[in-house]
């Protein structure tokens, strides 16, 4: 069964460092998303990506964040200068098309900023 895969499963980084979280969506999907879940809190939408551009972003997704689909298979989330409050579980998701409403999630990357 096709699945969304994320790497690494756990990343520890020092405050101020750049991190790149990687995702491989399901191959024929067209819509891609990043969500995050701070420990003990709800899953929050960060950004959606379609047709090689951001289609929507939340208030959380400020200038420190960027997304890219560099090679047609990977979908990356970059945080330029990490802060302690960026520590969270980051989930990637993909969806087949406009009419297909079910999103499939990856297993998440736990980011710890120290």
């Amino acid at each position: 069964e096709p699945e969304v895969t994320q790497t690494p499963s756990h990343q520890v980084t020092q405050m101020g460092q750049e991190v790149i979280l990687r995702c491989v969506p399901i191959s024929n999907h067209l819509y891609f998303y990043w969500y995050r879940q701070i420990l003990g809190q709800k899953v929050e939408f960060l950004v959606s990506f379609y047709n090689n551009e951001i289609s929507e972003k939340s208030e959380i997704f400020d200038d420190q964040f960027s997304v890219e689909r560099p090679d047609g298979s990977n979908f990356t989330l970059k945080i330029r200068s990490t802060k302690l409050e960026d520590s969270a579980m980051y989930f990637c998701a993909s969806k087949g098309g406009e009419e297909v409403t079910e999103a499939f999630f990856g297993q998440g990357t736990r980011l710890t900023v120290v």
């Binding site: 998303y33 709800k42 899953v43 939408f45 379609y50 929507e56 969806k95 409403t101 999630f105 297993q107």
Partner: protein, 114 residues
């Protein structure tokens, strides 16, 4: 702004007890509704979904949910829980024509005692 509210933060049940987890959303337009489950250390998995038609939907592992439009609710039920149902449960709403982003509730942690 749309929001999703789950009434219970942590529910503790004994095996064979019946389960009902509450979920209410605030949005006046057309939505798709989802329940996701997250087993310890695993990714979000879809339990069931409602798009249209019969408001009583059945999902995997014996779960079902009922959409009551007048109450803006989508409660999750299971007649008899098992120890393996121990997990976190998330209700989510997808507003149509908004790019497919999901708005999650804060989650309910279910602990089932053997």
């Amino acid at each position: 702004a749309q929001s999703v509210s789950q009434h219970n933060h942590h529910v503790i049940l004994s095996e064979a007890a019946s389960l009902e987890l509450g979920c209410n959303y605030s949005y006046g337009g057309t939505v798709n509704l989802f329940w996701y489950v997250q087993y310890p250390g695993q990714h979000l998995q879809l339990l069931l979904k409602y798009f249209s038609g019969d408001p009583l939907v059945k999902g995997i592992k014996g779960f079902e949910a009922e959409f009551i439009k007048s109450k803006f609710s989508f409660n999750l039920r299971k007649p008899s829980v098992q120890w393996s149902d121990t997990a976190e449960y998330f209700c989510a709403v997808m507003v149509l024509n908004q790019g497919g982003k999901l708005i999650f509730g804060q989650g309910t942690e279910l602990s089932v005692k053997p």
